[in-house]
């Protein structure tokens, strides 16, 4: 199975890189972008064939390593 994980900064955590991207977009003439939040995308190829077990395992991976839950949220898709 494949796990797709999006890791994003929590609300209230400043994202200076997102701000810089927003400024750069604006400088390139892309107006109307109110906010930019930058995150990470991680793909895992898993041996597990049971989606529920796979999700539980990936959830543990997110808590223990892939995300820092002090500043980040994660969202998992299993396929």
């Amino acid at each position: 199975m494949k796990a797709r994980i999006h890791i994003t900064l929590k609300n209230g955590v400043l994202d200076p890189q997102g701000k810089a991207i927003q400024h750069a977009l604006s400088a390139l003439g892309f107006g109307g972008v109110d906010d930019v939040r930058q995150g990470k995308y991680i793909e895992l190829d898993l041996q597990e064939t049971d989606p529920a077990k796979a999700e539980a395992a990936v959830e543990e991976m997110c808590k223990k390593l892939l995300s820092n839950t002090v500043i980040e949220n994660y969202a998992i898709e299993i396929e």
Partner: protein
């Protein structure tokens, strides 16, 4: 005082730390490679600056999960002293031994310069050789030193006197201009609740004698000698 310095792949301030600890304690620290299975019985473990594991995933994330770091956590849990400088501070927050996280500098730039720090609490094993409110000069050199913690955590740190150092201007005031990285409340270094763990972004080990351009960091090491010997 017996000491150990942990070396991860791409640690790069380990040597400065070893030289500083040897000069001040009179004993060469144990140098522990991250794959070494055991850390000898020591009074202090130092996690040095650098870019452990290439800063992959997040600064300090890989080193925090490294087997040797489990030994560091056990040492800390027994009440043993631990310092984390720069990348070492990032590792300590990633392990959860210290609260919060170190984020990309607000300027997005790597900052390498001398800064002024105000000693906020001198009743710790790492600051007792300074006077409270003393202004010291030490260098910073980092890209990810922007200390973040949520409001409740910040309040607890403030109320419990766990801010060790704050970035200030020449007059000792916490200003936005004197904050090199956007750190919340101008925080440069914090201590654990039991006061046995300190993490800080600036590098006291780089200024311990006049030949290095100043000795602002000497008191940091002298404090540990006072507290531990």
């Amino acid at each position: 005082m017996k000491t150990a310095v942990i070396v991860f792949p791409a640690s790069n301030c380990d040597r400065d730390m070893i030289v500083a600890l040897e000069k001040i304690t009179g004993h060469k620290p144990h140098i522990i490679w991250h794959q070494d299975e055991d850390i000898p019985q020591v009074d202090l473990i130092a996690l040095p600056g650098g870019f452990s594991f290439g800063d992959y995933l997040r600064c300090g994330a890989m080193a925090a999960r490294s087997p040797v770091t489990r030994k560091v956590i056990e040492h800390a849990d027994r009440g043993g002293n631990v310092i984390g400088i720069c990348n070492g501070f990032q590792v300590l927050t990633e392990t959860g031994l210290l609260p919060g996280a170190l984020m990309r500098n607000e300027s997005l730039k790597f900052v390498c310069k001398d800064v002024k720090l105000r000693v906020e609490n001198n009743d710790t094993p790492f600051t007792n050789a300074y006077s409270e409110g003393q202004i010291i000069t030490v260098p910073v050199a980092h890209h990810d030193g922007n200390y973040f913690a949520d409001e409740d955590t910040l309040k607890a740190l403030e109320d419990e006197g766990r801010i060790a150092f704050r970035y200030v201007d020449d007059g000792g005031q916490t200003t936005k201009a004197s904050n090199p990285n956007g750190s919340r409340n101008n925080i440069a270094g914090i201590i654990s609740r039991r006061k046995n763990i300190l993490g800080m972004m600036p590098h006291p080990e780089r200024l311990i004698e006049d030949a290095q351009g100043g000795a602002g960091g000497l008191g940091f090491f002298q404090s540990m000698i006072n507290a531990i010997n």
